[in-house]
Structures are given as C-alpha cells and as structure tokens.
C-alpha cells in the first residue's frame, strides 16, 4: 500500500505528469461519450414529451394550432398561466376510454403471452442447434425486418380476407362452404401483433439462454432430475431475465399499436393507439389526443419501472 501511495505523490518524474494528463483526457472523453446520447434524448424525446404534456393541459379552440395558449399576456402587463385538466377528467369520465385502455392492455398481454409461448421453444431450439444452423436460424428471425412492416401487415390482410388465401384453401378443401370471417376480428389483431413482435421475444430469449451453462442441466440430471423437472427447476428460472426483457419488448409497443388494429381489426377492435389517432386526425381534438398519449405513457412506464427494480435487485445479488 505504502509503495503505491508514494508513486502517486507529485514528483519531478515526468511520467507522473503524463499519466496524470492522460487520466484527465480519459475522464473528459468519458463525459463527452455519455453527454452525446443524453443530449439526443433530451432534444428528441423530452422536448416533444413536454410539448405533448403542455397541449394536454390546454383547451380545444378553433384556431391553428387548435389549442389554447398556456401562457398569455393580458393587457401586455399581466402573465396568466392556464392549466386545463378537463381533458383528463373527460378521459376518466367517459367509459369508452377506460374500456379501450383495458382492451389494449388485454390484447397486449395475451399477445405477449402467445409470443412467449411460441418464441421460447424457438429460442431454445436455436441455442441447442449446431453453429452453422444457428447462424441460419438467427438470420431467418431477422429476415422479416428487411421488408417494410406495413407491407407485411398488408400481406396478412390478403391472407385473412374473406376472399383471401386462407379462406380459399379452406373452401377448396371442403372444410367450409362460406368464408370464415378472419379479417377485422380480434383474432386477426392477435395474429398481426404476435407475428410482428415475435423476433423481439426470440432475440432476448436467445441471448439469455445462449449464456446458460449446459453443465447445469447435466448436474441436475446427475442429481436425479428428469428432463421436465430440470426445465422447470433450472432452465426456466435462469432464463427469467430473457423472458422479462422479451415480454417488455413485445408488451410495450403492442399496447400502443396503431397500424395492426387499424388494418387487421378495422372498426371492431378498439385499441388506444387507434383511439388516439381518431382524436387527433378525425376530431382534430389535439388536447384530448395529448391527454390520451400522456395516460398511455404512464401506463407503459409502470411495467418498465417494475422491470428496472427487478434488474437492480438481480444486480445486487451478484
């Protein structure tokens, strides 16, 4: 210890000063590297958020832009600040919104669960496959991203329509005589969401399971545990971080999803993203639309906060 301290004492040794300035330079770079993404977030996330929050506290007026000003000069001498909470009260009063929020959360939750049910075995199989096959399978998971999301949803419309591929095949096979209604149902929305967000479930699961030590499974087997018991006692608990990460990556965007319920659900499936669009574009009620967005944001921040808490606890144990 003492020898280390001696070295750190200011001395005439030139190397000491060089190392000192190198340290300083390094800490300066550290600050810059951290600052850039923070500045980015501040500018492009926080600023719009405050603008939306501001609009949500305004009143609908027929001007351009269509909302009342928050801060105004009265007679050029008095500043008035007007905060209108009517929009939030309106959202909470009208059962339509509560129902739509709940329906969104329900659809997102069920979709997440389905994606987990489908994605987990896929991720598991990828981890267990040979290196070459593994690369190929991972590539296949990422492949859909090379086509526009919108195009892929349109493709589903073609598949699910009354005169679409699926119904044509069913009729041809004689399973049904009249087309089964698939498009513009909640079922179609589930298909669309699960299909679209499945890679977001598989990839974090894969990343997590890839790191799992296969000798743990062998150890469990060695101690008398059959394959099914080993899965539930060892593999599943250890892949929990991957399950949580994947579920959040599916649940959060699925809750606010607009395109899929609009194109595949039509008027029959009420989801909050579509409601928000209606308020904004059809009713041109920016303040209510903003309030809907703020409530949605709070709804999504909650599970995120729970996840962060969980992560911090896990890190503590390590």
């Amino acid at each position: 210890m003492s020898s280390v301290k001696k070295e750190k004492k200011p001395s005439t040794d030139l190397r000491y000063y060089i190392s000192l300035s190198a340290d300083k330079l390094q800490s300066k770079w550290k600050t810059i590297v951290i600052f850039i993404p923070f500045a980015w977030l501040l500018l492009f996330f926080l600023t719009p958020f405050f603008i939306v929050a501001k609009i949500s506290l305004a009143e609908l007026v027929i001007t351009s832009p269509p909302f009342s000003k928050m801060i105004e000069w009265v007679d050029g001498s008095v500043i008035t600040i007007r905060l209108v909470f009517d929009n939030f009260i309106y959202i909470f009063d009208d059962p339509l919104y509560a129902r739509t929020y709940l329906n969104s959360v329900k659809i997102a939750l069920v979709s997440t669960f389905l994606a987990l049910l489908i994605g987990y075995p896929i991720a598991y199989a990828i981890v267990r496959s040979k290196p070459v096959t593994k690369q190929l399978l991972l590539f296949a998971i990422i492949l859909p991203f090379w086509t526009s999301f919108l195009l892929r949803v349109y493709a589903w419309m073609g598949l699910l329509a009354d005169q679409g591929t699926i119904n044509n095949i069913l009729i041809y096979l004689g399973i049904t005589e009249t087309p089964i209604r698939l498009l513009y149902t909640e079922f179609a929305v589930y298909i669309g969401i699960v299909y679209t967000y499945l890679p977001f479930m598989i990839l974090p699961l894969y990343a997590n399971m890839e790191k799992l030590d296969s000798s743990l499974n062998e150890a469990a087997a060695d101690l008398g545990s059959g394959p099914i018991n080993t899965f539930f006692k060892i593999t599943l608990p250890l892949s929990m971080p991957g399950i949580i990460a994947g579920s959040l990556l599916v649940f959060i965007p699925a809750t606010g999803e607009y395109v899929i319920p609009d194109l595949l659900g039509g008027g029959n499936v009420q989801m909050i993203g579509r409601q928000l669009y209606n308020e904004f574009a059809r009713n041109i009620d920016w303040p209510v639309a903003s309030a809907v967005a703020i409530v949605l944001l709070l709804l999504l921040v909650l599970p995120m906060a729970i996840y962060q808490h969980y992560q911090a606890k896990a890190a503590e144990v390590k």
């Binding site: 743990l216 087997a221 060695d222 101690l223 390590k318």
Partner: protein
C-alpha cells in the same frame, strides 16, 4: 455392502474402506466411444472395487473425461458395456444411475443457495423435508460449511464452491462418485490442502471415487490405483508405486515424474534375464516375457535414482560435466553433459548446507554419476 469397519461420522455416511476383491463395483468391458471418425475411448477394460479412490490420469484429449461422462451417463458407449454393482447401465439415463458427479466447473445452480443446491438431489428422491435438512446439515458439517447455508454460489470463494459441489454430489450417497478435475480450479496451496481433505472425506464416507485428472502429482497422492491413459487407451493400471517405480511403457515413465530415457538393444535373453546395452553401459533385468535378442527398446532411469559427486581421479563410473543447474532449495536438478554430448538429468537432495562456494557443485564441474542397477526400468516400445 457389509460394513466391517464402520468409521465415525453420520450413520448414513459410514461405509467400509476395505476393498472387497471378490466382485468389482464397477466393470468396464471393452468400452469404446467414437465421435465421427475420432475415437475418444478405444476398447477399454477396467474393474474398480468398493472403497477405491481410482484416478484416470492423462493429458488433455486422452479420453479420460469422455470415459467419466460415460460412467455418469452423459455419453453412450459406441460399443462395450458398463456395469455398476453387476447392473448393466446401457439403458439407464443419468438421472437414474447410482452415480453422482462433481463437475470441473462445479456447475452449482446460481439461483439457489448452498443449502438448496445440496438439497436438490435429495428432493428428487422424494425424501421428507426433515430428513433432507438433517442430511444437508450433516454433509455441510463434513465439508465445514455450516455457516454458509444461506449464501449463493456467487458469494463463495473457489475453495468453498468446490466443497459445496462435493457435498452436493456426496449427499446422495452414490455407489460411485465421479470427480472431473476436482482440484484444477484451485490455486496451488489450496490444492495441496484440499487433496488431503478429499482423501479424509473419502475415508469417512467410504464411497468409491473415480477421479479424472491431468495432474500426476494429484493422482499419486490421492489414489489407491491409477490408470494412465493416452489416445483413448489404458497404457498402464496400477498402484501409484507400481506406476512410478515399474512403468512398463515409455509414455508412462515420461508422463509420471521424469525419466532419462535411453535407447537400448537386447544383447541376450537367457532364463528370464534380459541384458540390454545403452550408451550408459549394460543393464540387466529380470523379465519373463519373450524379448528377442537384437530387438530395440528403452531403458529408463529416474533423475533422483542417480547419485552425483565431484569426480576424483579414482572415479571409474560415468563422468560428465554440469551443463545447467536448477536450484529448488530442498533439491537441485543438474543437467549433466556426457562425452557423447547426451544430457542426463540428475536430482540431488541438498542434505547438507554447503560450507562455502567451493563446496557447491557448479557449472562445468566434472562430476561422477552412479546408480543402483536395480533402479533402472525396462520400457517396451
């Protein structure tokens, strides 16, 4: 098993330490394992008896771990048969075998406490909770980890983890405990200490151990018997003394300890007495096998079996010059250059403290080498 000499310890963990030579506990019959074109284990036969601490010793890739994994049931033999206590294991999955394994990386479950890790195996057997906690407490006492029950593996030191892994495997009282490089992850001092602990524990519980190791020192200290493996085959099987003093093969002599290996030629083989000439002169061996006159083989001479002294005018033995010295404190290793430029390794005990510089053998000193002819080892090619 009849416990003739039950030693102290928990009643469940006592056992006999006498080898019952009548029926082997483990029988390996002509076992081979092929991975594609590669033969990892090549037609191996072995019997291991109750209470033994058996070491599979060899370099990396010699097939020792594959053989151990076949005993545990993680690999299936390509051909041959493994019997434990007379029962054929070929159709028995790992989770139904009367074996337990201690993994090289310990494979402790990171999401469970020490206590839960050890209890895991017992829970699979459907034991009552009180019985489980009693057994866990007993085994924790044995490995001296009573105070670490509630810790997680990540919160333990390497040596502690090693003992948890050992406890987890032992608590199930297997017929056969398999240990894959049990001490490899520990530092030297801890390794030496743990070697003796491992032997003590084995002595107490009486379970038969099969240890895989690449460390010949570890194998020598731990085991009752050793099988030296190379390229998937057993080169020699025997007690540590047999393996060290009577290696029958050049590989074994070279792998265990060190040896001066001399090229030799058989000059006569009369009535079980074989005479071999080397550049260090003639050696004779008692050997009953038929070695033809004129055939070539090796003669091994261990460095510590050669005496070294300063050459005097009367010296009539082998004379050489010191080329290099390795000083280890208790011993010194000399590389002695002979007239024909061959180098002979000699290890000498530093029994007396040298009185002065002149008293000490040093570079280019002319020395006299001698040995007892019976220390030489006849090694077949």
């Amino acid at each position: 098993m009849v416990n003739s000499k039950a030693t102290s310890g928990s009643a469940a963990l006592t056992g006999s330490n006498e080898f019952s030579r009548d029926r082997p506990l483990l029988e390996i019959k002509g076992v081979s394992k092929k991975f594609g074109d590669f033969t990892a284990v090549n037609n191996v036969d072995l019997d291991i008896y109750q209470g033994e601490l058996f070491c599979l010793l060899g370099g990396s890739g010699c097939g020792k771990t594959t053989l151990l994994r076949m005993l545990a049931g993680f690999e299936n033999p390509s051909s041959g048969q493994i019997l434990i206590d007379g029962q054929d294991m070929s159709e028995v999955p790992p989770y139904k075998r009367p074996t337990n394994m201690m993994f090289q990386n310990y494979a402790l479950f990171p999401h469970m406490t020490v206590e839960k890790n050890i209890a895991f195996g017992l829970e699979q057997d459907g034991l009552a909770k009180t019985e489980i906690s009693e057994k866990v407490d007993n085994i924790l006492k044995l490995v001296e980890l009573q105070d670490y029950k509630k810790r997680r593996p990540q919160q333990l030191s390497g040596g502690q983890r090693q003992r948890v892994a050992l406890a987890r495997a032992l608590v199930k009282e297997p017929k056969l405990l398999l240990l894959d490089e049990p001490l490899a992850a520990l530092d030297k001092k801890l390794r030496e200490q743990t070697q003796f602990e491992l032997m003590n524990i084995q002595d107490k519980v009486g379970v038969t151990f099969v240890v895989v190791t690449h460390d010949q020192e570890e194998a020598m200290t731990l085991s009752t018997r050793i099988a030296v493996m190379d390229k998937g085959r057993f080169i020699q099987t025997g007690t540590p003394t047999e393996i060290y003093e009577y290696p029958n093969d050049r590989f074994v002599a070279d792998f265990i300890g060190s040896a001066n290996i001399l090229d030799g030629e058989v000059v006569s083989n009369i009535e079980g007495k074989v005479e071999v000439t080397t550049y260090l002169g003639k050696f004779s061996f008692k050997n009953t096998s038929n070695i033809a006159k004129g055939s070539t083989l090796y003669v091994g001479l261990r460095p510590e079996k050669i005496s070294i002294s300063r050459a005097t005018s009367k010296s009539k033995n082998i004379i050489g010059y010191i080329d290099d010295i390795g000083y280890f404190g208790n011993t010194s290793r000399y590389k002695v250059r002979l007239d024909n430029d061959q180098i002979i390794d000699v290890t000498a005990q530093n029994q007396k403290r040298p009185k002065d510089e002149k008293d000490r053998l040093t570079y280019e000193d002319k020395v006299n080498l001698s040995w007892d002819n019976s220390s030489a080892m006849l090694l077949l090619k």
